[in-house]
């Protein structure tokens, strides 16, 4: 039997392994895999934010829904106060995650876009916060003049 061919193959595999390990080391040390999208890591928190907005936009619940909150919003001295029931429910949801949240109401007053921050949810977010928003058809002529639709923007961070 002639075993020369098999020896060549074995030696070839050994040599190729050496070259492969060298190439692999070079590539591993130079190629940097950076996520091209900064919100990639926070996608779960973002989805939880969308779920929170969806859950509290239940039209059956009066004061604890987004529509009820906007309709019964009270304002004074530049502060905007949500109904206590809404604040309690949203705080409970945020504490359960746990996460911090900031709630902004954005509306068009006929000539410009205005922003209101809810009094109990006005902390400043950290740089890695995520932002979710929901358009709610509701109006409050006293605090949000001329608004037919209000963007409820929830900023979440841990």
């Amino acid at each position: 039997m002639d075993l020369k061919g098999q020896t060549f193959t074995l030696e070839g595999v050994a040599a190729s392994l050496l070259i492969l390990i060298a190439t692999y080391t070079i590539f591993q040390s130079t190629v940097v895999m950076s996520p091209s999208w900064s919100e990639f890591n926070n996608i779960q928190l973002k989805q939880l934010g969308y779920d929170i907005l969806r859950v509290i936009d239940n039209p059956e619940a009066v004061n604890s829904s987004l529509r009820g909150m906007i309709g019964n919003l009270s304002c004074g001295d530049g502060n905007y106060y949500a109904p206590a029931e809404f604040s309690q429910n949203l705080s409970a949801l945020l504490n359960a995650l746990p996460a911090y949240g900031r709630v902004e109401l954005i509306w068009f007053n006929g000539s410009s876009i205005e922003t209101a921050v809810l009094f109990n949810f006005s902390k400043n977010p950290t740089p890695n916060a995520v932002r979710v928003s929901r358009l709610v058809a509701a109006s409050n002529d006293n605090c949000l003049p001329n608004a037919k639709i209000v963007e409820v923007r929830l900023t979440l961070w841990r």
Partner: protein, 106 residues
Amino acid sequence: MEVNEKGQMILLFAAAVVVIILSISYVYAQNVIAGIESSRTMLAFPKEEIRNLCELASSSSTSTDEVVRQVRILCAKNGWVCNYNYPYRVEFKNLEVEYDAQDCRR
């Protein structure tokens, strides 16, 4: 002097095997990138925003000209192009996605 060509043969075999393994590992590396990109595309798809517009388009009371105008303005602030008509006609465009449906429920 006697010429020994065995060493050259070993190098040739080694080169062939390395080419095969490298090409397989290249395909594998492409798979990882394709996987990351496709999952990112899935996650970045603005399904919640489109669903939101779809809910607004499902009722004639939230599809009046003035409401749609305000929605367009608020969308533009976020860098989106939004438009909808009763019933269930929804358009949504952002940097990555162009969504245009005659019936957004499907």
